[in-house]
Symmetry: C2
Subunit: 237 residues, 2 copies
């Protein structure tokens, strides 16, 4: 059983500032747990509830935690019943030799961020460049939406402009050249903005090619995750 201090510590890691302070984060849920267990990342503790153990009988060892304790420190309203304390890897720098960089400007929704990380993994990208005000990857909802892809795709938080130097920079707007049939030129960067604010002026000033996803109906916009999916499918084919 976790001590009261441990519960408090795990609960504190729901906040980005404590994750940064301690260099740790919490992984929750069966699928994520299995992926992190096989990843080689440094796991400092695993706790599971009896209900979880009964339902899934996992292959890894863990300490017991009551439902109530789980609820106290989970990042979810309905906790999945299994959680691990994981050491955060050292943040690397962006690899500027990569011919293509996916860059995010002010993505604050954790679900969208997680979806984008998963998409980057699908399309074989190893890193994502994120403006410093993007949501923290180690947020519980974001981790969950990555479906384990956070283990393979590193998000580098930094200003966008240094990486734009010498690159053709594509930006997704509601008006622009259709992405259909567009030939990606190397080295390049694709900037995705949030649905509510779009690409903000500072990032827009980096854009050399405004591109768009042609639609025929009446929906006004697409969310950042969906837009990233369609753009990457077109640009990285």
């Amino acid at each position: 059983m976790p001590s009261i201090a441990q519960i408090k510590h795990l609960a504190s890691l729901r906040m980005s500032k404590y994750r940064q302070k301690y260099g740790q984060f919490v992984v929750e849920g069966r699928k994520q747990m299995e992926e992190v267990f096989h990843s080689g990342w440094e796991i400092e503790g695993i706790w599971g509830t009896p209900a979880f153990a009964e339902r899934f009988s996992p292959a890894y060892n863990f300490e017991w935690m009551t439902e109530e304790e789980n609820k106290k420190c989970s990042g979810f309203d309905t906790p999945p019943g299994i959680m691990a304390l994981v050491r955060m890897p050292k943040m690397k720098e962006l690899d500027l030799l990569e011919p293509f960089v996916l860059a995010l400007d002010g993505i604050s929704d954790p679900g969208n961020m997680g979806t984008i990380i998963r998409l980057a993994d699908w399309y074989g990208l190893k890193q994502i460049l994120a403006s410093e005000d993007c949501v923290d990857v180690y947020n519980a909802k974001c981790l969950s939406a990555t479906m384990g892809s956070f283990l393979r795709v590193e998000v580098v938080y930094s200003k966008l402009h240094p990486a734009a130097a010498g690159r053709r920079v594509y930006g997704a707007f509601l008006d622009g050249t259709s992405v259909h049939g567009l030939k990606l030129e190397s080295p390049s960067m694709l900037i995705i903005g949030s649905e509510s604010h779009g690409i903000r002026p500072e990032a827009e000033s980096l854009v050399t090619e405004k591109i768009t996803i042609p639609g025929k109906g009446h929906a006004e916009s697409l969310n950042a995750g969906i837009a990233t999916a369609i753009l990457l499918d077109n640009l990285l084919r």
Copy 2:
């Protein structure tokens, strides 16, 4: 102020069976509210909290509702503070003359369902065919994810096979012909399955063309909303 009976009634509409019974549903949130207000759909009541009114001063009239009352009948953990009671339109039949039908097999996640409705709207589809066990459109989370597109795209719940007759039927699988460069033949149907179960055997038996989204990385799959986005972008361009 709503009466206790009204609060109970609004709360009951969180469940599909009561929505069906009364032919009503609840729309919540500022963006959805504005869209439904201008849609011509029959609105039978609007309630807003003082906090909502102070922040947004909407152009439509509404009755007051306390935060506590709002919480009691909202479909969200964090209620947006504005809700309307709306009459459900009569379900029409699927228009079999349409050259392209988007069909869903067992989509149970309301967020994915809402995303797919919004995508259908983006690509100009007027209807979606959904297997009878797909999640109900009038679920609060689903409505919210449509961002108002539920007003323009009708979901017809029915067996899939009658509409498949005489059509080329594309099905999204992890293996199959790449969707890149695929030329859509008319009349046709695209079947999307859920992420956890894929296209189930009964629906699979209708498929004449297995198609796939080519990836290069290590993510095992894509969720139903993301897959629909990429497939529609390719097939309906």
